[in-house]
Subunit: 196 residues, 2 copies
C-alpha cells in the first residue's frame, strides 16, 4: 500500500502492530513493516534506530491505550470512593475485552511485554499514579481516612490487591462465572480499608 502521506512515527507504529498481528512476534521483521507502508526499510530505521526500539515503542503505544481509556474514570466527577470503583471496574473490563476480543494480538503483546520490562514498569507506575490521584482526592474530601503520607504505598497496594482482575497472567480466570462476584468482593475489601 504505497502512499504519498508523510511517514510519521505513528504511521510506522500502526503498520508494525498490523504486521505483528499478521505474522506473529517471532516472524515479523522491519522489512515487513516497510513493505506494508510501501517505503524502504531505511525510512523506518530513520524513525526507529533498531528493531528492538520499534518493538518497544509499539508495546508502549499499546499499553498507553489503557492509560488513555482510564483517564476519564480517574478524572470523573463525584465522590472518590465511587470514582475508584468505576476506575477499577473499567480497568477489569478493558483487560477482559483485550484478552477476549483479540486473543492473538493479546498473545503477541504478551511476548512483547516479556521483552520490555522497563516499559511495563513505567505503565504500572502510570496506573498507580491514577489510583493515587483518586486516593488523594478522597483524602481531601474526607471519604478516605488513609494518612496522607501512606497514599503512594496504599495506591500501589490497591493496584496489587486487584492484580487478579487486571494482570494478563490471570486472563484464563476472567471468563469464570464467579469472576464478577470475586471482583466485587475484593473491591468491597479495598473500600473498607480506605475508609477504615
Amino acid at each position: 500500500m504505497a502512499t504519498t502521506e508523510t511517514l510519521t512515527a505513528e504511521r510506522i507504529l500502526e503498520a508494525t502492530e498490523e504486521v505483528l498481528r499478521r505474522y506473529g512476534p517471532a516472524k515479523a521483521t522491519v522489512v515487513d513493516v516497510a513493505r506494508a507502508l510501501g517505503v524502504s526499510h531505511g525510512s523506518v530505521y530513520r524513525h526507529f534506530r533498531t528493531k528492538a526500539a520499534l518493538r518497544e515503542a509499539v508495546t508502549e503505544r499499546w499499553l498507553r491505550r489503557t492509560i488513555d481509556a482510564l483517564r476519564p474514570y480517574a478524572d470523573a466527577p463525584g465522590p472518590a470512593d465511587e470514582r475508584l470503583t468505576g476506575w477499577l471496574t473499567a480497568l477489569f473490563a478493558l483487560k477482559r475485552e483485550k484478552a477476549g476480543g483479540d486473543p492473538e494480538l493479546m498473545a503477541t503483546f504478551q511476548v512483547l511485554i516479556g521483552e520490555n520490562s522497563a516499559v511495563v514498569d513505567r505503565h504500572e507506575d502510570h496506573l498507580v499514579e491514577q489510583i493515587a490521584g483518586i486516593l488523594a482526592a478522597g483524602h481531601r474530601e474526607g471519604v478516605f481516612t488513609v494518612p496522607e503520607a501512606d497514599l503512594p504505598a496504599t495506591a500501589r497496594a490497591v493496584f496489587h490487591a486487584t492484580d487478579r482482575f487486571h494482570n494478563p497472567a490471570h486472563s484464563a480466570e476472567w471468563s469464570a462465572p464467579d469472576s464478577g462476584a470475586a471482583f466485587a468482593a475484593v473491591v468491597t475489601l479495598v473500600q473498607r480499608a480506605l475508609k477504615a
Copy 2:
C-alpha cells in the same frame, strides 16, 4: 530398587513424584513408576486405575503439603490479626521456597496443575477455609469487625487480594527487591479492611 515392603498408595505417589522430577511430566509413564518401585505396572494400576488418576493424586498430595504446613499458623495461639499476618507470611514464604528451591519440580507441577483444575479448586477452598477460620476467631475476639454473614466472601476476597504473593503465575516477581515491601503494604490494606 526392588523391595519387599508392602506397596502402598503413598509409596507409589512418592515414586511418581520422583519419576516426574526425573523425566518431566511429558515423558513420565506408569511403567517408569513401576520400574522405580521394582513392581509390575499392574500392581500400580491396582491402586490407581488410570495414569490420569495417578497424576491427579500426586498433584493433590503436593498441594496438601502446603495445607499441612500452614495449619499450625491457622491454629496458632494469639490474636487473630497477628495469626492472619503470620499465615499470609508463611504462605508467601512456602510458595517462594517451592518456586526458588526446585524450579524444575515447580514447572512439573505447573503442568499437572493445569491438567487438574478440580484438584486446584479444592485446594483453594481448603486455603480459604483456613483464612475463614482465622476471620471467625477474630470476629469472636472483637479484633475484626466484618459482619459474620460476610465472613466466607471476605475470606475468599483476602485470598484473591493476596494472589500476587501466592499464585505461581506471579513467581517471576517474587525475587524482585521490593516484593517484601509490596507484600507488607497489601497485608496492611487487608488488615485495615478487616478492622474497619
